[in-house]
């Protein structure tokens, strides 16, 4: 069936899909009586036109890197982890507990512990749906959706009860101690003598890049990664090769949940510096769009995450400067998911046919199929 050259599959189709999504978004902007070209200019300027814009763009991107990688790792095992939102919420709980319970003398000590806390809690929240899928055959999509809601109810329960600051009305934990604040881009660049806007961008971005690299290593350079991909390609072939489905489903989901949980390092430890009720702000769902656009490859996820970061920051500027509300970004996000995920066949099928027709004329088999 593979009639497309690789470059068309990894670059051309996502690009066409993205263009279609942006085209329809432009139509939507036109319909609500604004100028799409001007809107695009405002968004681009707002997202990458200043160090301030870049700071926010990359801050949002860091969230999306983690949730995007989470969805991508699960995708490789052909599991659709829609529960990134809940896993990230539990990750936030893990991070908050680690940071609040231990009197950390310095952030360098708190960071590894918080990473561990976030990843463990996120993984634990993914473990139950994974177990139910692997052993009881319950559909992972449905269980992870249900676990999103259970997670948010659990968090509200803890934040109005056990974790609330005594005497305070707000459903949130105490502020994290100042020793655990992560260095921001502003601090780091100031040390080098460069002035950078005041943004929440912090050292977690580096952690995000490391996570991309580690995920690449895992998927393409380890035995486990090979097994995950083999399982995702064909479960029966994998079983025949001696790969245990139970083990792969569990491990893939644990890694996926752990990555989603680590998002809290950036959002909770890096920015909010306390545990709030709504600390994920939909980033878990953006991860789906990011993983789809990035074709589940860590590099693709990184690029898609930055694109979506720019979209979020640009959308905020758009709301500020015009009457287009912030929800425009949600529409664009929906269209990206629709075109790159669900309507992929609409572009792929005619394109494959085209490549097949033009590929045949050449003597060398340009198409990589058999």
């Amino acid at each position: 069936m593979d009639k497309l050259p690789k470059w068309a599959d990894v670059a051309l189709i996502p690009l066409i899909n993205l263009l279609l999504a942006l085209l329809v978004s432009g139509l939507v902007v036109l319909l609500i009586g604004e100028d799409p070209v001007e809107a695009l200019q405002i968004m681009v300027r707002g997202a990458v036109g200043s160090t301030y814009g870049w700071g926010y763009t990359l801050f949002y991107a860091t969230n999306f890197i983690f949730t995007g990688l989470a969805v991508a790792v699960a995708f490789h095992a052909r599991l659709f982890n829609i529960g990134g939102e809940g896993q990230a919420q539990l990750g936030a709980l893990g991070v908050a507990l680690v940071v609040l319970w231990v009197p950390w003398p310095h952030w360098t000590l708190a960071l590894p512990a918080a990473v561990l806390g976030g990843a463990l809690f996120g993984a634990a929240w993914a473990a139950i749906p994974a177990y139910l899928q692997a052993r009881r055959g319950s559909h992972i999509v449905i269980t992870t959706i249900m676990f999103n809601f259970i997670a948010s109810a659990l968090l509200v329960y803890l934040l109005v009860g056990a974790l609330k600051v005594p005497g305070s009305m707000a459903p949130e934990t105490a502020r994290f101690p100042e020793t655990t604040f992560l260095p921001t881009a502003r601090d780091i660049f100031a040390a080098m003598g460069i002035s950078f806007g005041r943004t929440p961008l912090n050292i977690s971005f580096v952690l995000g890049l490391a996570a991309c690299w580690a995920t690449w290593l895992l998927i393409w350079r380890t035995r486990l990664g090979y097994e995950i991909r083999a399982f995702g390609q064909s479960e029966s072939a994998a079983v025949y090769a001696g790969i245990s489905p139970f083990r792969i489903i569990m491990l893939a989901m644990l890694i996926s949940g752990g990555l989603a949980g680590m998002m809290a390092i950036n959002a909770v430890m890096g920015e909010q510096q306390r545990l709030l009720q709504d600390n994920v702000l939909g980033a878990g769902f953006v991860g789906i769009a990011v993983a789809l656009m990035g074709r589940s490859h860590p590099l693709g996820v990184l690029l898609a995450a930055i694109l979506f970061g720019a979209l979020y920051q640009g959308g905020a500027e758009l709301e500020f400067e015009t009457s287009v509300p912030r929800e425009m970004v949600v529409v664009i996000q929906a269209l990206v998911i629709l075109f790159t995920g669900a309507l992929d066949g609409m572009v792929r099928r005619p394109l494959s046919r085209m490549f097949l027709r033009f590929g045949r004329r050449r003597p060398a088999p340009a198409a990589g199929g058999e």
Binding site: V28, I32, G33, F80, I82, I128, P129, L132, R136, G137, S138, H139, V141, I142, T143, I145, M146, F147, F149, I150, A153, L154, V156, Y157, V160, G161, F285, I288, L292, S323, V324, P325, E327, M328, V329, V330, V331, I332, Q333, A334, L335, I337, L338, G341, A342, L343, D344, G345, M346, R349
Partner: protein, 332 residues
């Protein structure tokens, strides 16, 4: 807790279960035909917005209802296009539809009404009014007179004038849809074929019946039912549209569908149960059962927990339609 309080809770149970039931039956038709629909939430949301917006602009709830159903069916057709025609991933398409609804409704609401993503409050003919069944008013008057006379009434008559009578039309429509759905799915040729297409589309195709047409029919029926659910939310239960007003009801309906093991009558009871949980959670902050305080958050999470338990097969097994989620590729 006296009888009247219980009846009031049951009364609000019926109101809260109605949108769940309509959405749940929508999911029933779609999933029985092999098209998984996690976009119930989104379809309800667009229907809620367009019904409220058109009702607010024209003053007619009927035009609003028509607009809501049209919007919902449009979204259903997008889902059909993606998952039937282009054989895309049905789950991803559902996710996209939910986001599209969530963003579009606020965008258009802001453009049309400039009230921060909501519609103006609906009054009079722009809302569904409550239907008083014959004799209900007389019974209620009788009840009030007994109180005025200083006698404590038993409250049994309230079962009729409060619980059974006094709902909007769509509540009765929703309940009537249960036997109708059962009849259509299990007693008609169309229903047999529709269920077959969700179990073994190849066999249906071999019999010379179009899989694509049947699945589109199921998806459109789901769109109409979600449209009714959304319209009820905005013009019956509430008086207007507010941002993200479905608040996860589409997912509770999905949970109810699994809880009901994809059967219409079970769906009614599952939705009533989940409606009851919501009604109790709305009325009490925490409930003491045998001296143990149960927090409302637990009540809110209970539908989801129950669904996971059912899905896990610890209490009865929920077996979904076999061809669910798989696009049908005709053999050549």
């Amino acid at each position: 807790m006296d009888l009247l309080t219980i009846i009031q809770i049951l009364d609000s149970t019926v109101r809260l279960a109605t949108p769940l039931l309509l959405a749940c039956l929508a999911g029933l038709f779609s999933e029985r035909a092999g098209v998984i629909d996690i976009g119930l939430e989104g379809k309800m949301l667009v229907a809620a917005f367009f019904s409220a917006a058109v009702a607010a602009a024209t003053g007619s709830v009927w035009l609003g209802l028509a607009a809501g159903v049209t919007a919902s069916v449009t979204f259903a057709l997008i889902h059909g296009l993606a998952s039937i025609t282009f054989r895309g991933d049905q789950l991803i398409s559902g996710v996209a539809i939910n986001f599209l609804a969530s963003g579009m409704t606020v965008l258009i609401a802001q453009d049309w009404f400039s009230q921060g993503g909501r519609t103006p409050s609906l009054t009079g003919g722009a809302r569904f009014s409550e239907i008083s069944l014959p004799g209900a008013t007389a019974l209620r008057e009788g009840y009030r007179e007994t109180i005025a006379d200083g006698v404590e009434p038993s409250g049994v008559s309230a079962i009729y004038w409060d619980l059974i009578s006094g709902h909007t039309l769509l509540v009765y429509v929703a309940i009537a849809m249960v036997p109708v759905s059962w009849y259509v799915l299990f007693r008609t040729r169309f229903g047999l074929r529709l269920r077959a297409v969700g179990e073994n589309p190849g066999a249906v195709d071999t019999a010379g019946v179009s899989v694509v047409r049947l699945r589109y029919a199921a998806v459109v029926i789901a769109g109409v039912l979600c449209g009714l659910a959304g319209a009820y939310l905005a013009t019956g239960l509430a008086a207007g549209f507010v941002k993200d007003m479905t608040a996860g009801r589409g997912f509770i309906a999905l949970a109810a569908l699994i809880f009901a093991k994809w059967r219409p009558w079970y769906a009614l009871f599952a939705c009533l149960l989940f409606g009851l949980l919501e009604a109790v959670g709305n009325r009490f902050q925490s409930i003491d059962i045998l001296g143990i305080g149960i927090p409302t958050q637990f009540m809110q999470a209970l539908p989801y927990i129950l669904t996971v338990v059912i899905l896990a097969g610890f209490v009865g097994r929920a077996i979904p339609p076999r061809a669910g989620g798989e696009p049908y590729v005709k053999e050549r």
